[in-house]
C-alpha cells in the first residue's frame, strides 16, 4: 500500500477512539448545511479524468484496498499454534447473509491441505451392499442440489461462558459463516452403495493428517446432509475443504468434515476424539453431555458493536445483526436498547429460511444517549434465545461449547461500544 493510501484510510484504532471524525469530514453531524463547497464535488477528481484499470488487470479479484481491514483474524493466546486453530469471520463489517469464502472463518486440526480434484477419492464402505470408490468426476454426474446453510463452530462464543471477555463481535460470534452450497445429497451416494438394515450410523472422515472424523446417525445422513463441492457459486476454497466437504445443516461445524474422503456405514458410533474429549459439554456437577449436535437459536447485533462503533451523531441509526437456528428457521428477532427491560421486534430483511442466517434491522432514532443493546432470536420450534444467566443456571460455566446466550453491547454517548454482561 502506498503512503498516500495509508493516510486516506483511518485506522480501526482511530475509529474506536472516535478520532476519525475530524479527518473524514462528512462523518460528524452531517446533514444540515455545508459551510463551504465540497471540493470532492467542485473540483475534477483524478478518477473522473484519467482512466482506471483495464479488464486484463485482475483475472480474479480481491476486495478494493480500502476494505483491507475486513479480514479473518485469530486470537493468538487461544491455541498452542496456528495450524490446529481457528480464526474469525469479520461479521461486524459484512451485511446481507452470504459470507464470502475469502473471509469466512477457518478451523483446522492439522492445517489447510492442498488436495487436487485429480487426486481426490471418496470411499463409501462398511455396512453397505457394495463398497464404492468415487472420483471427483463421478460426483459431478449425480443429480445436484443448491442449498444455503450456516456453519457454526460449537465453540462460537465459548470464551464468554465465564464472563465478558473479547471486545469485538468478530471474536465473540465470528466462528460462523453462511454459504450457498452445490453438491450431491449424501443419501444419493449411500443409496448407490446400498445401506444394509443394521447400518445405524455413518462415520465421516477427512483426508488431512488430523483424520478428523465424526459419527452421524443414519437418519440425519439420509435426511439433509450434502456432499458439497461448490460454495457461493465457485469451487470450495482450500481452507473450506477443496475439492469436497460435508454440509451437515444445523449441526455443529466440526461435523462438516472437510476434504471428505470416507463415509463408513456402521452399527454404532466410533466415539472418536472429536466426539468424546472435545465437543462434549461439561456441566456444573462434572457430568458431560455428548451428542449435542444441534446449534440452538442465536442472534447477535453486528453493528453497532465494539469494532463497528457509531461514527455519526444522534438521529437515524441502523441497528443490524444476524440470527439463525439449527432447529429450523428464524421466525423473529427482538431488539432491546435498555439491556432487556423492553423489546421491539426487528425487521427481517427476508423471511427466515431453514438452518440459514437471517439478517435483521432495527431502524432506530438514536437520541445520543447510552444504550445496552441486545438481540433475541425466536425459531420455528418455539425456542427463544436464553440469557447467559439462564444458560449458566442449567449448565454452569464449564461447557465451552454451545453458548447461544443473548449478547450485550454497551454503547456510550460517543457511540463507542463495549462487550459487557448485565444483571
Amino acid at each position: 500500500m502506498s503512503d498516500s493510501a495509508k493516510r486516506n484510510q483511518p485506522s480501526r484504532r482511530q475509529f474506536l477512539s472516535g478520532a476519525a471524525a475530524a479527518g473524514a469530514g462528512a462523518v460528524t453531524a452531517a446533514a444540515a448545511q455545508a459551510a463551504s463547497p465540497d471540493p470532492l464535488i467542485t473540483e475534477v477528481q483524478e478518477w473522473a479524468s484519467a482512466t482506471g484499470e483495464g479488464v486484463d488487470a485482475t483475472p480474479y479479484g480481491l476486495p478494493v484496498r480500502f476494505e483491507n481491514d475486513v479480514v479473518r483474524r485469530n486470537v493468538e493466546w487461544l491455541t498452542a499454534d496456528t495450524i490446529s486453530s481457528i480464526n474469525f469471520t469479520p461479521i461486524h463489517a459484512l451485511d446481507g447473509t452470504i459470507t464470502p469464502q475469502g473471509c469466512a472463518f477457518e478451523r483446522h486440526h492439522s492445517g489447510a491441505i492442498e488436495l487436487s480434484k485429480a487426486d481426490y477419492r471418496l470411499m463409501i464402505n462398511g455396512l453397505v451392499d457394495t463398497p464404492l470408490v468415487f472420483t471427483y468426476a463421478d460426483l459431478e454426474r449425480f443429480p445436484r442440489e443448491n442449498r444455503v446453510h450456516f456453519c457454526e463452530c460449537a465453540a462460537n462464543t465459548g470464551m464468554e461462558w465465564a464472563g465478558a471477555q473479547l471486545n469485538g463481535v468478530q471474536f465473540t460470534h465470528g466462528m460462523i459463516h453462511n454459504m450457498e452450497y452445490s453438491g450431491v445429497p449424501l443419501r444419493t451416494l449411500l443409496e448407490e452403495a446400498g445401506v444394509q438394515p443394521e447400518g445405524k450410523w455413518v462415520y465421516v472422515e477427512g483426508a488431512d493428517a488430523s483424520s478428523n472424523g465424526r459419527s452421524i446417525p443414519i437418519e440425519k445422513a439420509l435426511d439433509d446432509v450434502l456432499v458439497a463441492f461448490k460454495a457461493n457459486g465457485e469451487a470450495l476454497r482450500k481452507e473450506h475443504g477443496y475439492p469436497v466437504r460435508l454440509v451437515v445443516p444445523g449441526w455443529e461445524g466440526n461435523m462438516w468434515v472437510k476434504w471428505l474422503r470416507r463415509v463408513e456405514v456402521m452399527d454404532g458410533p466410533v466415539e472418536s476424539r472429536e466426539e468424546t474429549s472435545k465437543y462434549t459439554d461439561t456441566l456444573a456437577d462434572g457430568t458431560s453431555r455428548k451428542w449435542t449436535w444441534v446449534m440452538d437459536a442465536k442472534s447477535v447485533i453486528t453493528s453497532p458493536s465494539p469494532q463497528a462503533p457509531i461514527t455519526h451523531g444522534p438521529g437515524p441509526l441502523v441497528i443490524t445483526g444476524l440470527a439463525w437456528s439449527g432447529r429450523g428457521h428464524v421466525t423473529g428477532v427482538d431488539v432491546s436498547t435498555d439491556g432487556g427491560i423492553n423489546w421491539t421486534p426487528a425487521r427481517l430483511a427476508a423471511p427466515g429460511t431453514d438452518k440459514a442466517l437471517t439478517r435483521f434491522y432495527l431502524d432506530h432514532d438514536w437520541d445520543g444517549g447510552e444504550m445496552l443493546l441486545q438481540a433475541r432470536a425466536r425459531d420455528s420450534s418455539g425456542y427463544v434465545q436464553p440469557t447467559k444467566a439462564q444458560l449458566r443456571e442449567v449448565r454452569g460455566e464449564n461447557s465451552i461449547y454451545h453458548n447461544n446466550c443473548i449478547q450485550t453491547w454497551w454503547i456510550n454517548g460517543k457511540g463507542e461500544a463495549e462487550n459487557v454482561e448485565v444483571s
Partner: protein, 352 residues
C-alpha cells in the same frame, strides 16, 4: 440408539426416515472399492475394540517412544507443554471451576486414545507409528495417569480390561428436557425486569487482539513504536546469494517444507513455534534463535561451535535423531537427497 432416535424426533428432524434398505434409483457410478483400499483407509477403532490390529506395547517401551515422538508438545510426563494438551492428571477436577480434562480424568473410552494416536499423531508426522508403538504409547499414557503399573503391557487381548475412570461421566444430549423452559411461546416484551446493571466489562480484562491490519497513522504512538521495532523482526534483505538459487529447486523446497511447517516458520513475521524460526538458518551458528528453548544436546553442540552449513543441515535432516541423539526435533527425516537439497535451497531463499 433408542435415546438417539427420540432425540432426533424431539429436534424436529425428519424422524420418519428409516435405515431400511433403499429401493432408490442407482446411477452405476463409481467402482467397487478393493479390499486393500478399504484396509488402507478403514482404520477407525470402536469402543468395543473393533478395528484394533494385533499387537502389544509395554509402559517401558512406551516411555521411550513417547519421549521421542510426543514429549516435545505433551511433556515428558504427559503433563503438556505451553498450550499443548495435557494427557495426564486432573482426576476429580471435572466439577471444579477449571476442569483439567485428560485421558485419565475425562476420556470415556480407551479406544479413542489408540485410534487418535494411530491416525492423527504425532502432529506433523501422522500415521508414522507402528501398531506396537501405538500400543506402547497408550500404555505409557495410562501409566502417566496412574491407571496401570510400570510393568504393564497393553495388547489387543487385554485392551477391553482397562477401566477408564470417567466411562460413566457422560449423558446423551438432554437439552430438550433440562432446557424445556427455553421453548417459550410468548417471550416478555415490556417491563421484563426492574433495573439493569453492568456486571462485567470486556475492556477491563483487555485480552482482545489489537487490529494490526489497519495501517496506522503517523500520529499513533504505538504504531510508531511498532514501526521502529519492525526492522529488527524482518529477515535479512534478500541476499546476493539468492540470485544464484535455482528457482525451480526453491519451489520444490517450498513443497518439501510442508513437512516442517507444523513446527517451523520462515519468512516475514515468522515466530518460534514448536521449533525455532528458520530465517537465515543456512550458514548460521546453531542455537542462536532468540527466545527458543533448545534441547541440551543442541546447546552443547552450539557451544562446541556447530554451524549449520549445507552439509551439516543435510546430515541432520536425513535422520535427525541419528545425527543428534536427544534432539527435540521429533521428525523421522527426509528420505531423498533431492528433497534435502530442495529444502535447503528454499531456506536459503530466506537468507543465508
Amino acid at each position: 440408539m433408542s435415546k438417539c432416535l427420540k432425540l432426533l424426533a424431539g429436534t424436529a428432524l425428519a424422524a420418519t426416515l428409516s435405515a431400511a434398505p433403499v429401493l432408490a434409483q442407482k446411477f452405476g457410478l463409481g467402482r467397487p472399492a478393493l479390499p486393500e483400499e478399504i484396509a488402507a483407509w478403514d482404520l477407525d477403532v470402536s469402543p468395543d475394540g473393533t478395528g484394533l490390529p494385533a499387537g502389544s506395547g509395554s509402559v517401558e517401551d512406551g516411555e521411550m517412544v513417547f519421549a521421542d515422538n510426543c514429549a516435545i508438545c505433551h511433556g515428558d510426563f504427559a503433563e503438556g507443554v505451553d498450550n499443548w494438551p495435557e494427557l495426564a492428571g486432573g482426576e476429580g477436577t471435572l466439577a471444579d471451576k477449571d476442569p483439567v480434562k485428560t485421558v485419565g480424568s475425562y476420556w470415556p473410552y480407551l479406544s479413542t486414545t489408540w485410534d487418535y494416536v494411530n491416525r492423527s499423531m504425532p502432529f506433523g508426522n501422522a500415521q508414522s507409528l507402528s501398531a506396537d508403538e501405538t500400543y506402547a504409547i497408550v500404555a505409557y499414557i495410562l501409566y502417566s495417569n496412574d491407571l496401570v503399573e510400570d510393568d504393564f503391557v497393553l495388547s489387543d487381548k487385554n485392551f477391553l480390561d482397562v477401566e477408564m475412570p470417567n466411562a460413566d461421566g457422560f449423558i446423551i444430549e438432554g437439552r430438550d428436557t433440562a432446557e424445556a423452559h427455553f421453548w417459550t411461546q410468548a417471550p416478555c416484551m415490556e417491563g421484563c425486569k426492574e433495573s439493569v446493571e453492568i456486571t462485567m466489562r470486556a475492556a477491563v480484562l483487555d485480552v482482545t487482539p489489537e487490529d494490526e491490519t489497519a495501517a496506522a497513522p503517523v500520529a499513533d504512538a504505538s504504531a510508531q513504536q511498532a514501526a521502529a521495532e519492525a526492522p529488527a523482526e524482518q529477515p535479512a534483505e534478500a541476499p546476493v546469494e539468492t540470485a544464484a538459487l535455482d528457482p525451480a529447486l526453491v519451489d520444490k523446497g517450498e513443497k518439501v517444507f510442508k513437512k516442517c511447517k507444523a513446527c517451523h516458520q520462515v519468512g516475514d513475521g515468522a515466530k518460534n513455534r514448536t521449533g525455532p524460526t528458520l530465517n537465515g538458518i543456512v550458514g548460521a551458528p546453531a542455537g542462536l534463535v532468540d527466545g527458543f528453548k533448545y534441547s541440551k544436546v543442541l546447546k552443547a553442540a552450539a557451544d562446541g561451535g556447530l554451524v549449520w552449513t549445507e552439509d551439516e543441515l543435510a546430515a541432520f535432516l536425513a535422520k535427525p535423531k541419528a545425527y543428534m541423539k536427544g534432539t527435540r526435533m521429533s521428525f523421522a527425516g527426509l528420505k531423498k537427497d533431492a528433497e534435502i537439497d530442495a529444502v535447503i535451497a528454499y531456506l536459503q531463499s530466506y537468507g543465508s
